[in-house]
Subunit: 285 residues, 2 copies
């Protein structure tokens, strides 16, 4: 495949996408922070299948990182990303510099509501404000018909769905399933931080989610009982530290006491100082 | 002139405006809360002069009113508004019900930054959050090429300009001069609240701005001296209460000490419990 065209300025982006939109093409966008893995590429495949033209956006957004988080060391490898996107047939990559995205006087923010409060919102204050703002900016830059997000960032997808509805954006938000390594670890750019030994220990996240599914399939309905058993699995890994293990309503993200309808099991765990998240929906027969 | 088409739903709005946009028409929007006066109509004329198609939006936005403000009694007279818009040649009016604009789960807000802090921001907490959110929603509903605002709401125009730039909206923000009654009172839907006697007293706002201009023309540069003289003029009116009289930088709205470059004189005054605002730019020769 030909390498995708790489655009770095908003003017060039609008010049490239505007005529396609006016011609009635369906435009899909895949927002990423780069360091692409199969999870991202599944979003590209979905967009390519459903849209006439796909824009991949690569931008490590500073405003969604808190103080002390990994903004500076977040993995960046544009050439490797472009090779992967070329292999998927992506025509256009938007990879702006920070100064192209945030002007020096930038001072307007999108404040998401209650759905941004618990889970990641509690542990990463301001994170979803940064996410919502950058995604809205991207939407306004491209005016896509559809945008593709991964279910690994489940709460992020909810926040963006809510924002898109509340702000009357005519954009379809598509959420694609989590892509996992063969041992169940959810694909994440941050997995690259893990030492080989920690990488092996990191399977406790998925194992704890599998245990939750088994417990529910076996008739257990008590959310706290399930969460306690999940925590035991996670803490069996040396140096694992739990940010949260939560069983919540899949729409409101409010804690549930009983798993008697579809429930989101969500967790954030630090292994060897690398913060990993994962989730699954627990269904009841 | 034919009466304008009145649309009340977002679906109908998009169906009406989408084809025009795809055909390359320049679409202008005039956001109003109805109770139209010559100030609003000057915005319509500007849009009609510069755009191929003008949408007037009439919506009394609850989220920009604080508790105890005049949302419930704000003047509403759709038929009179339509007659005025018909006389101006407006083709389309978007006049949605509140439920069409804010869904029951609405929970995403635009937080404007520092420019929303002083003046109106200080006296009407949350006002500009409501303004920025509703204007962004409107922009997303219509995707206009240009939007027209009045300089009477000077700070509002600054907030919207900042938002439009920060959120990468491809929309030109046009700000049109204040339209005044023959005695200088800035036109406002709220002038209708005034009793005949209070209406006469309300001229102190414009008189105080004229005094400021005269003082600057006469060589006075001390901002506090000018503001003090303005306050004296205003307080000469029986029952006038001052929210603020401020001399500020026209871009940042931060107070200035000396008027040695263009300076905004802005004021908010209650006459007979009706809150009126006005402003002008003081220029230095």
């Amino acid at each position: 495949m030909d390498p995708p065209r790489v655009i770095t300025t908003l003017d060039d982006l609008r010049a490239a996408v505007g005529p396609l939109r006016r011609a009635g093409w369906r435009v899909g966008v895949v927002p990423t922070m780069g360091a692409l893995h199969e999870g991202h590429l599944s979003l590209v495949h979905a967009s390519r299948a459903e849209c006439d033209f796909t824009v991949a956006w690569i931008f490590v957004n500073p405003s969604q990182f808190g103080p002390g988080e990994d903004y500076a060391r977040y993995p960046r490898d544009l050439q490797a990303d472009l090779d992967k996107l070329a292999a998927c047939g992506v025509e256009l990559v938007f990879a702006p510099a920070e100064g192209e995205v945030y002007g020096p006087e930038h001072d307007t923010w999108v404040e998401p509501g209650a759905v941004a409060g618990p889970l990641e919102g509690e542990h990463r204050p301001g994170h979803f404000r940064g996410v919502a703002t950058i995604v809205l900016k991207l939407f306004n830059m491209i005016a896509p018909d559809a945008a593709y997000f991964g279910q690994k960032d489940y709460q992020q997808a909810l926040v963006i769905r809510r924002m898109t509805a509340d702000l009357d954006l005519p954009i379809e938000i598509r959420v694609c399933p989590i892509v996992r390594e063969s041992d169940g670890l959810a694909m994440s750019s941050r997995n690259a931080y893990l030492s080989p030994a920690a990488r092996r220990r990191a399977t406790v996240l998925w194992k704890s989610l599998c245990l939750a599914k088994e417990l529910v399939a076996g008739g257990e309905r008590g959310a706290e009982t399930i969460a306690r058993r999940m925590r035991e699995v996670i803490l069996s890994a040396e140096d694992a530290r739990i940010d949260y293990v939560a069983l919540v309503d899949p729409e409101t993200l409010q804690q549930v006491e009983r798993v008697d309808r579809p429930t989101l099991a969500a967790l954030a765990v630090r292994i060897e100082n690398t913060r990993l998240i994962d989730n699954c929906i627990l269904t009841v027969e």
